[in-house]
Symmetry: C2
Subunit: 332 residues, 2 copies
């Protein structure tokens, strides 16, 4: 007896997740319990053009399925995270600057190439979902994910689902304004969290310090090379006890704490997950963040929340893509 | 033929809304289309104790029903807004400082007194819902409501419903931290929006100015009486062109704009509604708020949002209570 269309998809016991980044594509295959059966990493090759990138995605899915020993016919759905604003309903990517894409119907194109239902979402939203379901998030219904690296990004899980807002733009945690007269952000505004606490912001402050002939401890950590002053160098100098570096890391942590406190008071989440390279830079920034959060959040919101480090590292996005595919194919 | 229990409630064509305040109780009766048939206002008499207040609620509902010509048997549900943290699931009010209440099972008590399903929510959340459904909110799925008067409060409508957060504490917009070294807020923290832009904050700045022997234009607006310096007086002096008053109103507007921008970037709502006495104080604060919002919000979030004045005034809460009762009895 031939099964119906829906019955057919229901009997499909696997999902595919893809995290499409500016430099690499991570692809994974999992079963319905969320156990990962295979992982593949390939270079994006964004400079080789849109068709090349789409071919790389399709190939990486084929390789991941082969490594997992799963046929396409056994896959219920694929989820894919893309760096840029998009419409999760239609799968149209409005803009992906790192890929040179504009108004691309990625969901449709991949759906027809992979012969699967394909669900597209923003990479930061999927990282939030990944940490929520498989990482540090304890499958919380109300979770805020913040990633601090070159920039500051994030995603919101509200009521158990990714919260997209009215036009898909929610979760721009890096652009919460914290200092009306603060430094200019890449977005053009002044005093955004990203301009105060990102790796770029930390490095910029250190570079400015060194340019003034100060920050000698930081400069020495960079081997005396001004061009080598980075957030990582500042963090290392701070961990080593350098006063100026400690001040820079603490200030970044304080602004992060202000943002976290504001988010606690506004959204009353049960979990806040902080990830990204800068959050792994020792305890100085983390402690300053926690101290300011405790000082600025209402006790009612503070009592209920766990503030934790991300658990999945660079796999958060692909795990979220798997979670999205699972969630979307659950009802089928 | 006797109808079933649910069938019985479905045939009930009216709802009751109550806004329980520290000084007054507003009660209204509406039909299923949301047309208000009667309105009643009585004093809360909080100092006369809990039983008195509950009796006043029950009586005001009876009076409102009689004025509307509606019998209790024709009412599907009642909604009630309470000033303080509570559990909307159980109807337990944790704390209502203005009423002297603590851990009161209000939903249960009123349900048995009124012989109706009673739904309890926070007053600011219901004002948000009221403005969303019947006021300036255009029935938006994603709406942020901010009320600026003595304090700063608010509520979030996300995905078409009141967003409560993990433990009912969401929407504390007044306690978003905007200035790490700002003035102390009533909540004990520093630099909350409420400590920077509420009527109390505006008055405090003016009082301090006058105490320094400055702010003569403001003092003269208060009839030369230092004790008469209020936010209303500052607003009037500002509208009259007084430079110091203008500066105070503009600063409050700027902080409001910072908060609105942060909320736009975080939540990407389609409507922001601003109400409360301070928002009605002329155009200086409003324009400063808009200018800062435009400067600090991402253009993607800004393009999609309408920032509007509240339309319901002090009726927002009771209209929200009606909307809640309608929403909850829709499925019945």
């Amino acid at each position: 007896m031939k099964s119906s269309f829906w019955g057919d998809y229901l009997s499909r016991n696997y999902v595919v997740g893809v995290d499409l980044g500016g430099t690499k594509i991570l692809t994974a295959v999992a079963d319905r319990q969320g156990s990962v059966l295979s992982r593949v990493r390939v270079a994006t090759g964004a400079d080789l053009g849109q068709d090349h990138v789409i071919n790389e995605i399709v190939t990486s899915v084929a390789v991941a399925l082969r490594e997992a020993g799963v046929s396409t016919e056994a896959v219920a759905a694929a989820g894919i995270g893309v760096p840029g604003p998009l419409d999760p309903q239609t799968g149209v990517v409005y803009l992906a600057p790192n890929l040179g894409w504009q108004n691309l119907s990625l969901g449709e194109i991949l759906g027809s190439r992979l012969k699967l239902p394909v669900y597209v979402d923003n990479d930061a939203n999927l990282a939030a979902l990944g940490e929520c379901v498989y990482g540090a998030g304890q499958s919380a219904d109300n979770l805020v994910y913040i990633t601090v690296s070159t920039g500051v990004g994030g995603g919101l899980i509200l009521g158990g689902k990714i919260y997209h807002g009215f036009s898909g733009g929610a979760g721009e945690i890096g652009h919460i304004t914290l200092a009306a007269d603060g430094p200019r952000c890449g977005c053009g505004n002044l005093g955004c969290l990203e301009a105060l606490a990102s790796g770029t912001a930390i490095a910029k402050r250190a570079v400015a310090l060194v340019a003034e002939g100060r920050g000698l401890g930081i400069l020495s950590r960079a081997g005396g090379d001004r061009g080598g002053v980075s957030a990582r160098v500042v963090a290392a100098a701070a961990s080593n006890g350098d006063g100026e570096a400690i001040l820079i890391m603490r200030d970044a942590g304080r602004y992060l704490g202000m943002a976290v406190a504001g988010i606690l008071n506004l959204l009353n989440p049960s979990v806040v997950v902080l990830g990204g390279g800068v959050m792994q830079s020792g305890s100085i920034l983390w402690e300053a963040m926690l101290e300011t959060t405790r000082r600025c959040a209402l006790s009612s919101a503070l009592q209920e929340v766990s503030i934790v480090r991300a658990a999945l590292g660079e796999e958060a996005g692909v795990m979220g893509a798997l979670a999205l595919a699972l969630e979307k194919s659950q009802g089928v």
